[in-house]
């Protein structure tokens, strides 16, 4: 019991009071203003569909993979989208390995709702042969470091991974056209997913005194805040989802204020994701050009006189 006590992270009484008093003067402990987001850095791995997002100290890695499966019986012409979250114990002393806890399930659910309900990913284009073969897209989110606001970072990681993922091209063949042939990437260029819009999750924290509001709470602020709300909006101004699970009540005008703030932040974050994805795509296209075996290597040696 003592060993477990020794390893958990604690907040002192001084810190709790200081965070609250500093917020009364609109100061946050990392020097940000209440409505300022942390710096987002989006990086990509070697494979298609892997991304790593860093939001301040929070780090999340996203991986997208696809598999051919049989569709659900009530949706024979649609592909399947599923999200799995893994809260690695190296991210936070309170994360235990094994079954996902409440926080992990909630995070997965928020991102899932943002992508599925708003139809951001076109699942009908994932259907190859109705009722027989569809693509099942699986998004794995690994939390590597918990610096606060995991939902937003995980959402950006999922979107970045989806935008850079390429699925193999397949065509129908066989005697009666019922067989599916999956072409390897060297023969036919893999295809990107159809993503209509990018739903961005923006999280807010509420504090008890005089309904103070902050955007993008850090780890310390999350331990002190009275309630949290996550709104998923896109750059067009559509509200895709809102999640407010428990915590203290807030008046309606505060919610409207949050939605307005979220819409303006979503535009800048969408632009950042798209720019990063474009850089990676051009880089990958250039790399693929060199793969073509049209030019054979020539050994150039210095002529020795």
């Amino acid at each position: 019991m003592e060993g477990r006590l020794a390893n958990s992270w604690r907040l002192t009484v001084n810190d709790k009071n200081f965070i609250k008093t500093a917020l009364l003067s609109e100061i946050r402990i990392d020097g940000r203003k209440p409505f300022e987001y942390r710096k987002i850095s989006i990086k990509f791995g070697r494979e298609d569909g892997s991304s790593e997002v860093q939001l301040g100290q929070t780090r999340v890695m996203g991986m997208v993979t696809a598999q051919l499966v049989q569709p659900y019986r009530d949706r024979p012409k649609e592909g399947i989208l599923s999200i799995f979250t893994e809260f690695s114990p190296m991210a936070d002393p309170s994360f235990e390995p094994g079954r996902p806890g409440e926080l992990a399930v909630e995070l997965g659910r928020i991102i899932d709702r943002g992508l599925r309900e708003s139809r951001a990913v076109d699942t009908e284009s994932l259907c190859i042969l109705a009722s027989k073969f569809v693509w099942a897209i699986r998004i794995d989110l690994h939390i590597l470091d918990n610096g606060g606001n995991l939902v937003d970072a995980a959402n950006i990681a999922a979107l970045a991974a989806l935008l850079t993922f390429r699925r193999p091209e397949c065509s129908l063949g066989g005697e009666d056209g019922q067989e599916v042939i999956v072409h390897p990437p060297e023969i036919r260029e893999p295809l990107p997913l159809t993503v209509h819009h990018l739903p961005i999750a923006i999280s807010f924290g509420f504090f008890s005194n005089e309904s103070i509001l902050v955007i993008d709470p850090t780890h310390n602020e999350e331990a002190v805040m009275g309630g949290r709300m996550t709104t998923t909006v896109n750059a067009n101004g559509d509200i895709c989802a809102i999640q407010k699970s428990g915590g203290e009540g807030v008046p309606q005008r505060v919610i409207m204020q949050c939605l307005q703030l979220a819409t303006s932040k979503a535009a800048s974050i969408t632009k950042q994701i798209k720019d990063a994805v474009e850089v990676v795509n051009t880089e990958r296209a250039l790399r693929k050009v060199k793969r073509h075996p049209t030019s054979t290597g020539v050994d150039v040696r210095e002529k020795q006189n």
Binding site: E2, L5, A6, R10, V13, F18, I29
Partner: protein
Amino acid sequence: MENKQSSSPASFVDSTVVPGDVVLDLSSMTNQTIKLGGGLRQDCDAISATKAGTLRFSKPNKYWIESSQKRYVPCVEDTILGIVVDSKADNFLIDIKGPAMGFLPVLAFEGGTRRNIPKFEVGTLLYLRVVKANFGMNPELSCTDASGKAAEFGPLKDGYMFETSTGLSRKLLSSPACPVLEALGKKLSFEIAVGLNGRVWVNAASPDTIVVVANAIMNSECLSGAQQIIMLYDLMDSLVVVLLRETKK
């Protein structure tokens, strides 16, 4: 492999050593009392390193190995900042960022008797001294100095505590003063307590000052002296705002 004990101690001071290096040979130093700090172990006449880091020497006779980590290994006579986790009949359980909880006896206060045991709620920040730190046992702490006086030990009120590496907290306590602290002290007035276990507490009149000081110290971790001053010049804009606000009050 023969143990080469002929190397002079001066050659190892301020250089990097790894566990197993024999850094001092006592047979060549007679009639001297040497104090061994953290990371050194005595095997008969040979002093060997048990930690990787830089060997340091301070006059007149103290040797220790310095390395910077996030985790703290308790060492006797260190001054640290601990957080109260629980209170038992005889001890308070204190979290000191080490492998085991520290025990603070309820009587280890100036004028402490069974009748006036202080009541600390969970989460109180204390400035403490390490009395005993043996491997495998919980370290024993105290809120008095060696002669029994209070001497600034005890609970810290208000302010803000943040965590750093052990190397940075040692730099902040070194003399001559660390460039960051000197430059900050010239412009701002604040109170600071540094624990060798990688915790720093700052208090000032206005929250702006506290935030600026905390961020400046956290950013100075990897910077050299000159870079720290440059980093502070960048923070000067916010410092000017802070000064204007302070003069208005």
